[in-house]
Symmetry: C2
């Protein structure tokens, strides 16, 4: 039962699109990730997903709209909704989502991660 | 599917120990709350609870130790563990916990809330 300092954990992350688990509760994961550039279009059939910006900004693209997010703002993407995060510059994001979630849904991409590293 | 700005929501809260729901996903609630002073000792038999400090600082007391938390840090209190948040000065906190959680566990206090207001 130790506290987690977001900045200390984020300092351990040097790559992009590779979420690390920093906490777990009620079968949900708390993850930290850095985005830069464009991710792949995907959805999660059974899981809602929360994105909270810690530092920087990015946009979440949907098929019919875009939501711009900056530090101190969060967005919940409901299950089944196709989305693609895009970051013009590096952004630090906290994710909250079920532990069983698949990184890119059913889409396979070079960016897809199949295991969740803990830091 | 609208984004939530933490500072804008926190500006709507003028009381203490009264968490407001600002998001829901996977049967979990995202809440915002301001603490000041001492809460009551309690535990949640079936729910883990996450406290992320947005602004300020507070301490989480356990029966055998205390954890000091400041902005950008979070703590997960496992189910069944007695705890009491104490804030020498007002602090802004984001909570993440199951939607069915009871505010003060099985303890009834003047601070106990039985409904979760959404803002």
């Amino acid at each position: 039962m130790n506290k987690v300092n977001l900045a200390e954990k984020l300092a351990l992350i040097s790559d992009h699109w590779n979420p690390r688990v920093v906490g777990e509760l009620n079968s949900q994961h708390v993850k930290l990730v850095k985005f830069a550039g464009e991710f792949v279009w995907h959805d999660h059939a059974g899981e809602d997903e929360m994105f909270l910006v810690v530092k920087g900004r990015f946009r979440m693209e949907f098929r019919d709209r875009t939501v711009e997010l900056e530090a101190g703002e969060f967005l919940i993407v409901p299950r089944g909704v196709e989305h693609r995060p895009v970051a013009a510059e590096e952004v630090e994001v906290l994710l909250f989502e079920p532990a069983e979630i698949q990184h890119t849904g059913t889409v396979e991409s070079p960016l897809t991660r199949h295991d969740w590293e803990r830091i």
